[in-house]
Structure formats: structure tokens, C-alpha cells
Subunit: 140 residues, 2 copies
């Protein structure tokens, strides 16, 4: 199947479901656009008019704490969230700001940090540069 079920996903990560949590997880699973808190809030406010932005903040934090979503801090201006938690990298265009998924280099699995005295719970890899679209526009 293309999309995992929101309710099942919550339960798989030990997160107690609620209308709001299901709606937010559903949005994450169906919109792989790395949305911000505000984007999720605006999008869901139509269906859930009483939704509070605080709830979106709290819920997305809970998701990331339980490993059900990724918190991306690539853009220094805003935190983004990713419902895809399988290992992958990201790319951000410095010009247009778009955030895209990138397949991990094949050898990356064997790349473990060297001589470290800490336990690794998350690994983040991302690239910044100029996307093709922006390069074409500006390049001339």
C-alpha cells in the first residue's frame, strides 16, 4: 500500500490516538512535503475548526519523541516534520527553500562515527545547494 494507516501508525509507536492525533498523522502520511507546524495547523483547521496550534506543537513533538515522525531542523527559520521515518537524507535548496528527500548513499550504512563515547539514537544527513530549477532560471 502507498500510505500507512494513521491509526495503526500511532498504535505501532505506542501513542494514544485521538481525533487530533489521527488527523495530524494522517496529514503527515499523505503529504510528504515536510510541513511546518503552521502548515499542518492551517490545513487541518478547515476540518477541525477548534484545533489549537498548541496541540499541533505538542502532537508533533510527541510523534518525534516516539519515533513516529522526524523533526527536521535544516532550515534555521522553521522546524519541519517528516512522516517518513525510514532512513533517508534530505536536500534543501538555498534559493527557493524547497526540501526534498534524497536516497542514502549505498555505502552509508557502513559509515559509523569513529571513536565516540555516546550512544547514537538518530543520524541526520542533509545537503544544501542549488536545485536544478533555480540553477536554470538564474544560470542563463
Amino acid at each position: 500500500m502507498t500510505h500507512k494507516n494513521a491509526l495503526d501508525t500511532l498504535q505501532a509507536y505506542g501513542i494514544h490516538p485521538s481525533v487530533q492525533r489521527i488527523a495530524i498523522m494522517d496529514y503527515l502520511l499523505k503529504h510528504r512535503t515536510h510541513p511546518t507546524v503552521d502548515e499542518v495547523y492551517v490545513a487541518l483547521s478547515k476540518a477541525i475548526p477548534t484545533l489549537s496550534k498548541t496541540t499541533v506543537y505538542n502532537t508533533l513533538r510527541i510523534f518525534s519523541e516516539h519515533g513516529a515522525a522526524l523533526m527536521l531542523t535544516i532550515d534555521e527559520k522553521k522546524v519541519c516534520f517528516d512522516g517518513v521515518v525510514t532512513p533517508h537524507a534530505h536536500f534543501m535548496c538555498k534559493r527557493c527553500g524547497q526540501l526534498a528527500d534524497v536516497q542514502l548513499p549505498g555505502c552509508f550504512r557502513e559509515c559509523q562515527p569513529l571513536g565516540v563515547d555516546f550512544s547514537v539514537e538518530e543520524t541526520h544527513l542533509y545537503y544544501k545547494g542549488i536545485c536544478k530549477s533555480c540553477a536554470t532560471k538564474a544560470g542563463v
Copy 2:
């Protein structure tokens, strides 16, 4: 030599020097603690009482735009800066928040992003987890 010269570094990256810029670069080169804007501002205010925090913001942004410093957005609460621009990874302890340098895995050099249609200008790799000190304290 241990520390590069601040003035030389600015000129090497095509950044017009000034008292403030030299002082900020000098601080970065001598304090490899991944300081925040505020930390730089507070530290330099003693020597330069008229220093404006806006200048620190502007200057550090200019540094990172010219490749003379790295802007680290690992901690979602605050942006940090790194005067060490040679390739290396980072580790952040989720409990105490410390940010440490980590040697890149040897194989990492060969790890290039796959099938991408963008030019890579920056590569960021970091780990999150629990440092030994925190693990020892809490672990028991």
C-alpha cells in the same frame, strides 16, 4: 599553527575586514564551542561595548554565506556557529545539550548523494543521542 589568523581568514574568504568582523572571527577561531549569537555578543561586549547584537547576527550570517563559518541548526532552539570549516560531523546529547565534534567516518568521502539533480554546496552530518556522562549519571 593552532589558530588561523582572523584577518587572514576573512581576506581568504573575500570578506571585507572591520574591527567587529575581526573580533567575531577571532572569537570563533579561539573558542571551538559552537557558540550562539548571544554567546558571541556577550563575550565581545566587554571588549567592544558599543557592539550591537544585530551586527553579530549580520556578521555570522555573512561568514556562513562566504563559507568562512558553518551555521549549525542541530538544536532546534538555537542556531550555533562553527569556525572550523574542514569536513567533520557533530554529536548532540539530547539530555545535556552539549555539541561535540565528531570525526567523519573514513568511508564518508565516497558517499555521494545518488541520482540527484542539484549542486551540493554543503554537507551536514550529525548524530543525536546520550553522551557517556549523562548515561552514567542516569543509567545506574
